[in-house]
Each structure stands twice: as structure tokens, then as C-alpha cells.
């Protein structure tokens, strides 16, 4: 089997058995990127020389017997993670020339685990988007059909792994930015509990929601990589100081007796019929495996999108105020005075969606509106959080669709922000409540993948991954490769 069709787990075994070297593997993926990336636009930066040097070091470690399970396995990072000495753009003109002077903790941990960085992946500008069409570097295309979007904001991560240009990729998820693109490209993507993975060096969008995670070919691969990424980091004040379990070992737990809550509100109006049918078929698999399925209601979940579109823009307007054209990032030509320097650098450096969100946030935080919008949204967030808490008193995991439809065509939703925002209707709840959530492929509709979402209580990453792993032992949706990328 060609190396690009192998999972991370299989690559790890192949490297240990000396079936191939990390340098050979890295060359293979670099060649696939060179051939395939012009069609997909998944990579912003390819680190060819650097990755081959890292691979040579990994090979030396394997030869010396000092290798871990991820040593020598290539990966690529979403371009939101600062990478020392490498362009880190966040998909924006604002950072199009920014060479990071340091590594994000996610980057340094995976490098310390011996992983080889192939490059940096395209994304919606500052992670604001659900289709990867807001990137300054142009849209990413879906390998299942290049006229369609790959989802966003981790669209480059999704397209690269789905097209087998990289075995696994990092991503970030503020309102669904790992799970929705994973669903739209047939991948397994996990957003862990808020605070589980360090956000040091991960460019901030909405700090009470942002979390890093993985897009992979299977729950097993996601478990392997998440285990290496997760853990306490004193450089992130929201990082949780709790031991990281062995996700890889714990995913073998069977689902017999698992109490699965079916979220009633996720199966109503708005869910495309065949996507719903694919999710229902997946639920039958869980029944067959001995899980106990019960319907649950989260009555306030319907307000999650409006809540998010107050909270996230408010936080982004604050976070993005650091981009002032002075210390780093884009600066306009010939500023007249300091105000002109600020307003034109920001006006020209940010794209339309980012400016729209900054202005939405500025408005909802402004004097006279704070109580009506921001404080109100934080109270509704409490209600949504309480809905989840009540549900998890009854069930072990919640299952439903990840996105209401399969991928849509490029340009289809760019005219109306509300239509675009509603893509995240099923994913935003987990961010508002800080819960671990995963998407796994569960079918194809007109040749496009659809995803099944599993949500767990805080720190139940193992349980969520185990539920997906059990499903993937019974089905082969996760093994499907888009035509032309075999």
C-alpha cells in the first residue's frame, strides 16, 4: 500500500519495522504536495528543506532506538500556530510577512515527539469563516469535488489530509472550525475540552472559545496525536493542570452499555434529509453494538448561534486590537499621522469578514449596548451550559449531525453572513460550554462526505474517541479516498 494511504498508526509501525525511512516518507508527501497543492490551495507555506532535516533527525533517533510512536511521522500545521523562523500568516494580509520568532506549544510538543513539519496550512482569515473562502491567500478546494468548499476555518488542514497530502494536521475550533471541515471532507476531527491543549502561540480569535485539536484519518490517529499535544502549559493561563490519559489505550473501551443521548433539536427543520438519514444509520450501528439510545432535549441550543455571534465578535474585537501596524504585521504606505497609520493599516490589512466581526464586536460592547447584547449573550450562554450539564447527568455522550448539509459550492454563501453562520448551528454549543466534541465520517451524499458528531462532558476525550473508534471498526467511511487522490 502506498504510504499516503496509511494511517499514522500504520506509518508508525512501518517506520519502526524499517519498511521505509522518515526521509523517504517526507519526500513522498512533499512530492504529493507539489503535484496536488496547485489544485487545492491547501498549503500557504511548504517547508521542504526543513522537513527533510527533521526527518533525517527522526531517522537517526529511530536507528538509535530512541523513537516514540510519532517519531518520523509527517504532519502539517494550520497557519494559526506560530512556528519559529517560518511565515505564520493566519490567512491574513495583516500577517502576510510575519515570521514568528517563537514556536507555539503545540508546535514544539509535536516536534519534541519527533513529528516532521511539512508546512503551514491555509485557513479562513483569523479563523473567521466556515468555508475557507475568507483567506487572503485564496479559497481552498474540497478534494471530493473541487467546485465545492472544504469547510472552515481549518479548510487547508481538512483538504490536505483528505487528499492525502499529509497524514494528519492540526486545527483550531472556536465554533466548529475543526469538526465542520472534518465532516465536509470525510475526516475525523476532534476539539478537546477548553483548556486541554495549550493555546500559547496560537493566534487568538475568541479567547473563551478557542481550542486546538486534530484532523486525522481515524479516531485512533486523532487519539495518538492529541495525546502528544495535550497537557498543562504554564505559558497559557487557561491551560488546565490535569494529567493526560493515554487516549490511544482508552479508545479500545467497548460501547456496550454506553448511554447515548440523541439531541432532539439537531434533527429538526434545517437538517438536509439524506444527511439526517446517514446519521440515523450510524445510530443503528450504535444500537447494534449494545449502546443504549435515549432522546434528550437541549431547549436553549437554538440560541447558540446568536449567542456565539455576540460573544465571539466581542472577544475578537478586543484580541485583534493588537494589530496596529507598529510592532509587527501590515503597515499602510505613507501614513499622515498616527490615527491614519492605525486606521489604514487595519482597514487595508484585514479582509471584509474580519472587519465585519470586529465592528459587530465593537458595537455589542459599546456604551449603551453592552447589557442588551454582550451581558445578555453571556446569560444565555449560562442557559446553554446548563442544558448540557442536565443532559450529561443522564447520558454518557451526545450524538447528532456535525453540519446540516454536505459541502456547498464555492461562492454559494458568501453574499449573506447569516446563511454562512448557520453552518455551525450544531457545533457552536460545544464551544460555548467548553466540551470535547468530535466529527467522524458516516456517509456520502452525492459523492460528498457527511459527519457524525459525538459530544462528551468536560475531559471525556477518551470516551468520545472510543465511541468513534468503535464505529470505525464496524464501518469503512473513514477509509474512503476522494477520486483522483488515491
Amino acid at each position: 500500500m502506498s504510504p499516503h494511504l496509511k494511517s499514522v498508526a500504520e506509518l508508525s509501525r512501518g517506520l519502526a519495522a524499517r519498511e521505509f525511512s522518515s526521509v523517504e516518507l517526507t519526500r513522498h508527501f512533499l512530492a504529493r504536495i507539489e503535484a496536488g497543492n496547485p489544485r487545492l490551495n491547501a498549503f500557504v507555506t511548504v517547508c521542504a528543506e526543513r522537513s527533510l532535516a527533521e526527518a533525517a533527525r527522526a531517522d537517526a533517533a529511530i536507528a538509535a532506538g530512541g523513537a516514540g510512536p510519532l517519531t518520523g511521522v509527517p504532519l502539517a500545521h494550520k497557519d494559526i500556530f506560530c512556528t519559529e523562523g517560518v511565515l505564520t500568516t493566519c490567512g491574513s494580509r495583516m500577517l502576510a510577512n510575519f515570521v514568528s520568532p517563537y514556536d507555539a506549544t503545540v508546535v514544539s510538543r509535536l516536534a519534541a515527539a519527533g513529528m516532521v513539519t511539512l508546512g503551514k496550512l491555509n485557513m479562513d482569515e483569523f479563523a473567521m469563516g466556515s468555508s475557507n473562502e475568507t483567506s487572503f491567500f485564496g479559497p481552498v478546494r474540497n478534494p471530493w469535488n473541487e467546485a465545492f468548499v472544504p469547510g472552515g476555518s481549518s479548510g487547508g488542514s481538512a483538504a490536505a489530509v483528505a487528499a492525502r497530502l499529509a497524514p494528519v494536521a492540526t486545527g483550531t475550533d472556536t465554533g466548529g472550525s475543526i469538526r465542520q471541515p472534518a465532516a465536509l471532507t470525510g475526516l475525523t476531527g476532534i476539539k478537546p475540552t477548553y483548556g486541554r491543549v495549550s493555546r500559547y502561540g496560537m493566534i487568538a480569535f475568541a479567547s473563551s472559545l478557542d481550542q486546538a485539536g486534530v484532523l486525522a484519518l481515524s479516531a485512533e490517529d486523532a487519539a495518538l496525536v492529541l495525546e502528544a499535544m495535550a497537557g498543562f502549559d504554564e505559558r497559557d493561563s487557561t491551560s488546565v493542570d490535569a494529567p493526560v490519559p493515554s487516549y490511544r489505550a482508552e479508545i479500545e473501551r467497548p460501547v456496550r452499555g454506553l448511554k447515548v443521548g440523541i439531541i432532539r433539536e439537531f434533527f429538526g427543520e434545517g437538517l438536509e434529509a439524506r444527511t439526517g438519514a446517514a446519521v440515523q444509520a450510524a445510530l443503528d450501528v450504535y444500537r447494534r453494538l449494545g449502546a443504549e439510545l435515549v432522546e434528550v432535549s437541549l431547549p436553549n441550543l437554538a440560541l447558540s448561534v446568536p449567542t456565539y455571534y455576540v460573544v465571539a465578535p466581542a472577544e475578537c474585537s478586543s484580541n485583534l486590537s493588537r494589530f496596529d501596524g507598529v510592532r509587527f504585521g501590515y503597515r499602510c504606505e505613507d501614513p499622515r499621522d498616527l490615527l491614519d497609520l492605525y486606521t489604514r493599516s487595519r482597514g487595508e490589512g484585514f479582509g471584509p469578514e474580519v472587519k465585519r466581526r470586529i465592528m459587530t464586536g465593537t458595537y455589542v460592547l459599546s456604551a449603551g449596548y453592552y447589557d442588551a447584547y454582550y451581558l445578555k449573550a453571556q446569560k444565555v450562554r449560562s442557559l446553554i451550559n446548563e442544558d448540557f450539564r442536565r443532559a450529561f447527568a443522564e447520558v454518557d455522550v451526545l450524538i447528532g449531525p456535525t453540519a446540516p448539509t454536505p459541502a456547498f459550492e464555492l461562492g454559494a454563501k458568501m453574499d449573506d453572513p447569516i446563511t454562512m453562520y448557520l453552518n455551525d448551528i450544531y457545533t457552536i454549543g460545544a464551544n460555548l460550554a467548553g466540551l470535547p466534541a468530535l466529527s467522524a465520517p458516516c456517509g456520502l451524499v452525492d459523492g460528498l462526505p457527511v459527519g457524525l458528531q459525538v459530544i462528551g462532558p468536560h475531559f471525556a476525550e477518551s470516551r468520545v474517541l472510543a465511541a468513534a473508534h468503535a464505529y470505525q471498526r464496524e464501518t469503512d467511511w473513514h477509509l474512503k479516498v476522494p477520486a483522483g487522490w488515491e
Partner: protein, 96 residues
């Protein structure tokens, strides 16, 4: 329309964003739609509800010893700046 062109000009000024005359109507339209959309939050009864600012309710900010942990890397950091001189960041003259 909830927001006028004048409102958008004001918001853009608060956010220090230069928005051109031609762009104002489009932003007024899309921002109004967003504000109208989030108005549905008003339907929720939150009279007795405390606001949630952080998803892990019981987490507190850690304290650390007040010790120097960062080294001086000014030259490296300033490589990303548009204009520096003698270790200083340059901006247009503020005081005449």
C-alpha cells in the same frame, strides 16, 4: 435597517478601521442583518441567570512567582516591524 451609515462610521472609528465611503452601505446592511439576527436573544428569560464568561466555571487564574523568565530578544522581535531605529519603533510624529 438597524444601523445607519453614520452608525457604521462611528463604529469603524471606535475600532480604528478605515472604511471607505463606497463600502459603508454594504457594511450598514450586513451589520444590521447580524444585529437583527442576534436580537432573538431577547426572547430568552434570563432574569435569574448569572452570566457565564468562562466555560470551566470553577477555574481560577494561577499565580506565579514574580521572577524574570524572559530574556531580552528585542532585535529578533523588531525584525517583524516595518520601521525601527536604534531599537525604537518608529511612527509618524505625534507632537508638533
Amino acid at each position: 435597517m438597524t444601523l445607519t451609515r453614520r452608525d457604521v462610521e462611528n463604529i469603524a472609528h471606535l475600532a480604528r478601521l478605515r472604511i471607505s465611503e463606497e463600502e459603508l452601505p454594504a457594511y450598514a446592511g450586513s451589520l444590521s442583518r447580524i444585529i437583527d439576527f442576534v436580537e432573538q436573544l431577547a426572547s430568552a428569560d434570563t432574569a435569574e441567570v448569572a452570566p457565564l464568561a468562562h466555560p470551566l466555571e470553577d477555574q481560577v487564574q494561577r499565580l506565579r512567582p514574580d521572577a524574570v523568565t524572559e530574556t531580552d530578544r528585542r532585535d529578533l522581535y523588531q525584525r517583524n516591524a516595518s520601521q525601527v531605529e536604534a531599537g525604537l519603533y518608529l511612527v509618524p510624529k505625534v507632537i508638533e
